[in-house]
């Protein structure tokens, strides 16, 4: 959080808050200890606002709190109004038809009294289309996978539904998936129908990553982070005293 930014204030469920300009509504609620359910949100990824579970009422409108930056004071936000409750039940009912066995979803569905509609029971592939995997891949520096297709046919895949050539095997997608749906293996490293070599730390023998992954990150040394740190501090120790004098 940048503390030089001006502050904005408002109320959430009647409680006053004060946060830095541009803080998301979701974070502001968190400062008050108010919990808003989320699915597509991941604190380490840019918001996408696609699942619509985190909706919050203001005026007579609903906002995706994970993506809404508060830029003006005086907002009155309701996170648990009847409209919010109804909207979340609607979203859960729809997502449940896609992932009927997802534990987190089932728990939320119970809380909100949502039930899957049998008319949407075809193709329950378990995927929420939250795009966390796609965003994680982008955030890590690749664009190996994407959501392909339109409407209800939208699916996560590599180009032309083939093993993605741009994949470096970092597993960022699998680790960020809230449903654990992306099949992968740590060692041997397999994902998206591809197998990758693994780089072992020449000192301790630990797995550092795939060669493609290290190359993407611009890392040339194949030491693991711990051994690299140790080597660095050793080097510092051997430097002459004068190098540490500040001027």
């Amino acid at each position: 959080m940048d503390h030089t930014l001006p502050k904005v204030t408002g109320t959430i469920d009647g409680h006053e808050f004060e946060v830095c300009h541009g803080t998301t509504l979701l974070e502001a609620a968190k400062t008050l200890g108010i919990k808003i359910p989320t699915l597509c949100h991941h604190p380490g990824l840019p918001p996408d606002g696609n699942c619509r579970l985190c909706l919050v009422e203001t005026g007579d409108k609903l906002l995706a709190s994970c993506a809404f930056p508060i830029r003006a004071s005086g907002g009155v936000y309701l996170t648990h109004s009847p409209l919010v409750f109804e909207a979340r039940a609607f979203v859960l009912k729809l997502l449940l038809s896609r992932a009927p066995n997802n534990k987190e979803l089932l728990k939320l569905a119970e809380e909100y009294g949502a039930q899957a509609d049998p008319r949407l029971s075809d193709d329950p592939d378990g995927c929420l289309r939250c795009a966390r995997c796609v965003r994680a891949c982008q955030a890590a520096g690749s664009q190996a996978i994407a959501l392909i297709g339109r409407g209800r046919g939208r699916k996560v895949a590599g180009p032309f539904f083939e093993p993605p050539l741009d994949c470096v095997g970092c597993l960022a997608c699998a680790r960020s998936c809230p449903t654990g749906l992306i099949a992968c293996g740590e060692e041997p490293r397999v994902i998206w129908g591809r197998q990758f070599d693994l780089v072992k730390c020449p000192q301790c023998g630990r797995t550092v990553g795939t060669p493609e992954e290290l190359k993407r990150a611009g890392i040339t040394s194949w030491l693991c982070p711990d051994c690299r740190r140790r080597e660095y501090s050793q080097a510092l120790k051997n430097l002459p005293e004068a190098s540490f004098v500040r001027n």
């Binding site: 996408d48 696609n50 619509r52 609607f90 008319r119 949407l120 795009a131 994407a146 409407g151």
Partner: protein, 614 residues
């Protein structure tokens, strides 16, 4: 010729004004009636005749530009502009004379002259106010000289020589112009916001995506008067401080792209685009970008993503694009028709502009009137005209034997308004409070044979196919709504479906991420609001009063109305209609498919839909 300043522009224009009138042009009506009577052959014959006689003229084949004047029985129709002659029942034998005498010398062929002379007095045109469409078919749209001759670039000359960017902005703001691409957002507010936004790089964009199925008002503008859009954008760029613009054109419109490109080239050659326009320090370049081919690409954030080379998909929009738009720079996006209004405002002043339309909705709007009306096509009327006058005065009302039921306004995410709305003024505010939207101005007239549940199913199906699938309410929710509607139309409705639809529709509008999903329930919501009884009949009685949903009605012939013409007998695919010549027909229901073919052809309204159990 390169125009060095405003004075040279005006000198050129006054030279042109003393010359001959704009190039004479022929058009051939390409409506279904005229096509059936051989319009395509006439068009080809005229074109080869023009070549043979060494004339330099193209023929507009108005397959859908003029739509249909309702004079089908007099087809093929040929029009002559700018004289405005209308010739009827033109045959191949007339073509040589038509080209030499009429096109060459401007003299009509008396024996072919229709009763409607000049054509602007025809009831289809007479009530119209043609401002935006004034040059359509009257000039060669690729000729910059024709454009100048008809007052083009007067506004830009004035602005660059006598008005500050701020003054141009103020004029648009005071004119009250509202966006013609759907929402009706005040243009001036966007202009000022973009003008004041910090940043040295800014963009102006034109939305020519026109994704509404069957709509062609933006296409006819890009094809009929491309320079008006270009001049408008140049004025906009000057006003907000942009040096680069893009016109986003639907890729299914190759002729629009070609004409816009030619027009841009011509303007560049004359120094009306490019560096230091008309000797000023203002530079502006324009480029065409081809649309991604999806309805959602017309949505502003998706459109910008598409221009940037990314997938045309909407983004959560909590920052205005006039602050942060294309490549994060302040961006002014307007529909092509909005842009075409700008030169008019700058040239004639905001007071003049406000003399048409209503105080909150000034100016005119181009509508596309289609469906069950006698006359159809492109119509320009002042905003605030009643729906009734459009449907009945211009359109001539429902075809014989049918009665008006509803008008669907605003494209696929528009709404259906009933007979009681005929007195409603067509403007942004009245339409949205009635549950429809202006959209880009499409009007589909429906009659007693249109089933409102089926109409909702159709539009929901279209939008379902166009949903980008990013957010869950639209991706999954539209499918659920569609399946329920489909069930109702197939007689598989379940108790409570109508109520469920109401709930789903209202939730979808409130929860979807972008305008597509938020407005996707409009067809459903509006038909539920005005025609709920039709839903309940489908749900509870498996009855479709419109005779549209197969299996949910029996056709019945009213012997008092039946003239015995036998049209239904011919149309019936099951051959179950019988009766003597000039006698009322009867139907053998035991073998009837309940397809409604007889209802559709009966010109007397004698074939009607009744409940199957009655």
């Amino acid at each position: 010729m390169f125009l060095k300043d405003h004075r040279e522009l005006e000198a050129l224009r006054s030279g042109l004004m003393t010359g001959p009138a704009p190039t004479r042009r022929l058009w051939v009506c390409g409506g279904p009636g005229c096509l059936a009577s051989g319009a395509a052959q006439i068009q080809a014959a005229l074109a080869s005749e023009i070549k043979k006689q060494g004339l330099n003229s193209q023929i507009d084949f108005r397959a859908d530009l003029t739509g249909c004047l309702g004079l089908c029985e007099k087809g093929p129709l040929v029009g002559v502009e700018p004289e405005g002659f209308l010739l009827e029942k033109v045959s191949l034998a007339d073509c040589q004379e038509l080209v030499s005498k009429t096109l060459g010398q401007g003299r009509p062929i008396e024996r072919l002259l229709s009763g409607h002379q000049p054509i602007k007095n025809h009831p289809f045109y007479q009530p119209q106010i043609r401002q935006i469409t004034r040059r359509f078919g009257q000039i060669n749209p690729e000729s910059l000289l024709d454009y100048l001759k008809t007052g083009g670039y007067q506004a830009l000359g004035l602005a660059l020589s006598a008005l500050s960017p701020d003054q141009v902005c103020q004029m648009v703001e005071r004119s009250g112009l509202r966006g013609r691409g759907g929402g009706g957002f005040p243009a001036g507010r966007k202009w000022s916001s973009c003008r004041l936004a910090p940043g040295t790089v800014k963009y102006v964009l034109a939305n020519g995506d026109e994704g509404d199925p069957g709509a062609f008002m933006n296409r006819s503008l890009m094809e009929g008067d491309p320079l008006a859009i270009i001049e408008g954008m140049t004025l906009g760029a000057y006003a907000v401080g942009a040096n680069k613009g893009f016109i986003y054109v639907r890729h299914e419109y190759p002729l629009s792209v070609e004409r816009l490109n030619r027009a841009i080239e011509a303007a560049e050659k004359m120094g009306l685009l490019g560096k230091g326009i008309l000797g000023s320090s203002f530079s502006f370049n324009l480029e065409i970008v081809l649309g991604g081919g999806a309805f959602v690409c017309g949505e502003s954030t998706a459109l910008m993503a598409s221009i940037e080379g990314r997938e045309g998909q909407p983004r959560v929009k909590y920052v205005r694009s006039t602050q942060r738009g294309l490549w994060e720079a302040p961006t002014l996006l307007q529909n092509v028709e909005t842009w075409a209004n700008v030169p008019l405002i700058v040239e004639h002043g905001h007071e003049w502009f406000k003399s048409q339309g209503t105080s909150a909705n000034p100016g005119t709007k181009v509508f596309c009137l289609v469906g069950q009306v006698k006359r159809s096509g492109l119509v320009e009327m002042p905003l605030g005209t009643t729906i009734g006058s459009l449907v009945f005065e211009v359109g001539g009302g429902s075809p014989p034997g049918r009665s008006f039921k509803a008008v669907q306004i605003g494209g696929p995410s528009g709404g259906c308004l009933p007979e009681s709305a005929l007195d409603l003024p067509l403007d942004f505010d009245n339409l949205s409070s009635a549950g429809a939207i202006m959209g880009s101005g499409g009007l589909i007239v429906m009659d007693n044979l249109s089933c409102m549940v089926d109409v909702a199913r159709y539009f929901t199906g279209f939008l379902m196919g166009e949903s980008c699938g990013k957010c869950s309410p639209c991706r999954e929710g539209l499918t659920l709504i569609y399946r329920i509607l489909e069930g109702l139309c197939q007689g598989q409705g379940r108790p409570g479906d109508t109520l469920e639809l109401k709930k789903l529709a209202s939730l979808l509008s409130k929860t979807a991420l972008c305008g597509l999903g938020q407005s996707a329930a409009n067809p459903l919501l509006s038909t539920l609001r005005y025609f709920e009884e039709e839903y309940l009949e489908h749900e509870n009685e498996r009855f479709c009063r419109s005779g549209r949903c197969q299996g949910l009605f029996w056709p019945k012939i009213d012997p008092d109305l039946c003239s015995g013409c036998g049209l239904c007998q011919e149309a019936c695919p099951a051959k179950v209609i019988f009766g003597e010549k000039k006698q009322a027909r009867q139907i053998d229901l035991a073998n009837c498919l309940s397809c409604g073919a007889c209802l559709a052809v009966c010109p007397f309204g004698a074939a009607q839909a009744v409940r199957q159990d009655s």
